[in-house]
Subunit: 410 residues, 2 copies
């Protein structure tokens, strides 16, 4: 596995960079008065293998129910994903379900596909009914706008309180063919490490079986999107989709061979990149915090500790204030549920050891402050109990998070 | 049990209002440069029965270890509690332990008690060593200041980022004698529903066995302090102490009879009052939020749902902004882990039904906004699954929480 990192090269582009994809986005005024693009469409020129992962919340938005059903009905022949922002279509009852169905049916009809060939995702406010007629009126322009350059416009239209577009595109050679994996995501609030925890859309021109695509997606999400947290809330709408249309002409991946590992490596890299971009752009966040928990008995134990630290508002506000308050970090580790021995714990902040054997080192406060003013903060926690470790990403918690969320609906 | 509420009357006073208690507080400059009172002492004139409940964090501050040991050694003859703010004496290793021991030994020596007769609690920053010499220099003044009017001064000295003193004093007749139960607490940050979750000190002149005192304290804390949450963090120093010195002259409670029930009723009322005061004064909070979760299968299920709602930053910021964003409430219920059926859930905010059967009602947004601008917000959630229910208290989450916590240590 030496030098794997060089097998995939980062390139500029979008979700329409892999061969055989087009996209488009328009403003349908889903949120009354808004002038942002809020309706987006991604289309594969040929039937693609599709897979999806969805929220674990008991309250599940209508588009998720529809997408899950469609994926079961057409895992080998997905061709479109329609996405709206500005309305989550969650807690909207039978009318909401009807709306999600109509959206997919109408797209499929206009693209001359079977109804199940279109998947759907929504994001926005919960409990408001979907403005179907405004959406329907926007469809002709959405369809006519489809283009191989439409990927960036797609990425913009799915955003809500995000401050920037999230993209990761990788290219490699697989069995002599040039293959591409591209992903885009929206995040910001309600980001929590339980399976799919935001919207993410991944396209590739690799050819692979539906079964292996589901497996590789699950395995990649487990160590990327499931290891980020913004605020501990799990949304009703979280979805990750991947389409693999085989348009690169590469040989189809049908078993867990070296080609599968090669593809997985690229997909994982895209997932981790998007997850980090989401954490960095958490609502109000100014800093990306990378937690490295080492020396645990098991990976699960490391995750338990990392999650408690990542979700502690006290840790996150301290790091917002560039305050080397490591006491809050060891405190969160202490209530994480893991059987840690506090007197064994070491903590370093951006390489500066601030706690050794559970006690303060004589560190330089001025230096610590300067290190913590950087936009990237690395928190190293060593439990000295074993050999397992994990990486987890979160962001700092600022006053801006409150400002955004105290008036999101209105 | 009819008309129980009238058996205990709320009165003005402090923890020195029950017979036979004195208190004192001084400024020992534990936090360099501070001019606040930060060292407090509570003394019972006669040996009292004592009980305590402590944090469930794996990282336990030195004063907790010392108090637990002393309670085991002298449950029937506690006479003093020394408390400091400004320094948690947590993660301070052998020196911290030595400091906590010296503090109790010195108080006991000066009061001519056995060492175990003094309990100790600390609150403040984690990982800084205790300024023993400054504390020791303050002891003479602390001791000489002891008075039957010292209770309010004690209540002030234990505060950190609290904006107000927390007190609850109740009086009743028990077997012909006037008895009093008085409590004071400090809260603000790191308040989370796992057992004792802040500092609280309760005094009473009732006579009771050590065993029954422990039982009645556990039972009362379970439905009061364990049902509040400010930010989901569990401190390393949380402690609740109760002293019962029998100075009222009432007959000693030695079994779970009507006198026991009578006393429990008063203690429970004090605990609930203090818990609510802590939630209302959560760091940066402007509003007390009372969650009533009903219609669950079990009390545990109701608590699971209430806790998820109470800990959701999105719910708490919405209520800070007087935004009737019930979608975030049902969303939190959905990821709580309880097997709720979203299509059965009703939600009311200050009496206004905003969600019926998991969907929006046609409520008046202007009225909702006005109702949510009140300092007291009641959130009613009915799961329609059973007959169990619970009450839980929390506060809104404001920009002020961030301001306080981004620079607490410095």
């Amino acid at each position: 596995m030496a030098n794997n990192s060089k097998r995939w090269i980062e390139i500029e582009g979008s979700v329409t960079t892999p061969a055989g994809y087009r996209a488009s986005a328009v403003c349908a005024r889903i949120k009354p008065g808004s002038k942002r693009k809020d309706l987006a469409l991604l289309v594969s020129d040929r039937p693609a293998v599709g897979a999806g992962l969805f929220t674990q919340n008991r309250v599940v938005a209508a588009p998720i129910t529809v997408s899950e059903r469609h994926l079961k009905g057409s895992a080998g022949k997905v061709q479109a994903i329609v996405v709206n922002s500005g309305n989550a279509n969650a807690c909207t009852g039978a009318r909401g379900m009807k709306g999600a169905e109509k959206m997919t049916e109408e797209i499929s009809r206009r693209l001359q596909l079977i109804p199940e060939a279109t998947l759907i995702a929504s994001t926005g406010v919960i409990g408001k009914s979907l403005p179907w007629s405004r959406i329907n009126r926007a469809f002709p322009k959405l369809l006519s706008g489809l283009s191989h350059d439409g990927g960036e416009s797609f990425s913009d239209a799915i955003l809500t309180t995000d401050t920037c577009r999230k993209l990761s595109i990788l290219r490699s050679k697989l069995g002599g063919q040039t293959v591409t994996v591209a992903g885009t995501a929206k995040g910001s609030g309600m980001i929590h490490p339980r399976m799919a925890t935001m919207l993410a859309f991944i396209t590739t021109d690799v050819a692979i079986t539906a079964h292996l695509l589901r497996e590789v997606l699950s395995e990649s999400v487990a160590v990327s999107f499931n290891r980020i947290s913004v605020d501990g809330d799990t949304s009703t709408n979280d979805s990750i989709f991947i389409l693999a249309n085989g348009a690169s002409g590469c040989r189809k991946i049908i078993r867990r061979d070296t080609a599968f590992e090669h593809f997985k490596e690229g997909l994982l890299q895209v997932c981790i990149s998007l997850a980090r971009q989401i954490a960095r752009d958490g609502e109000g966040a100014k800093k990306l915090i990378t937690l490295e928990v080492r020396g645990s008995r098991t990976i699960a134990e490391a995750e338990q500790v990392a999650r408690a630290i990542a979700n502690s508002p006290l840790v996150k506000t301290a790091l917002a204030g560039a305050d080397a308050n490591w006491g809050r970090i060891i405190c969160a580790a202490g209530y994480s549920g893991a059987s840690i021995d506090p007197s064994q714990v070491d903590i370093a902040l951006n390489g500066l050891k601030v706690c050794r054997h559970g006690q303060a080192t004589r560190f330089d406060e001025v230096l610590a402050k300067r290190l913590l003013e950087r936009p990237d903060i690395r928190v190293d926690v060593n439990l000295h109990r074993g050999r397992a470790s994990t990486t987890f990403w979160t962001c700092d918690l600022t006053e801006e998070y409150i400002r955004i969320n105290a008036s999101y609906r209105t």
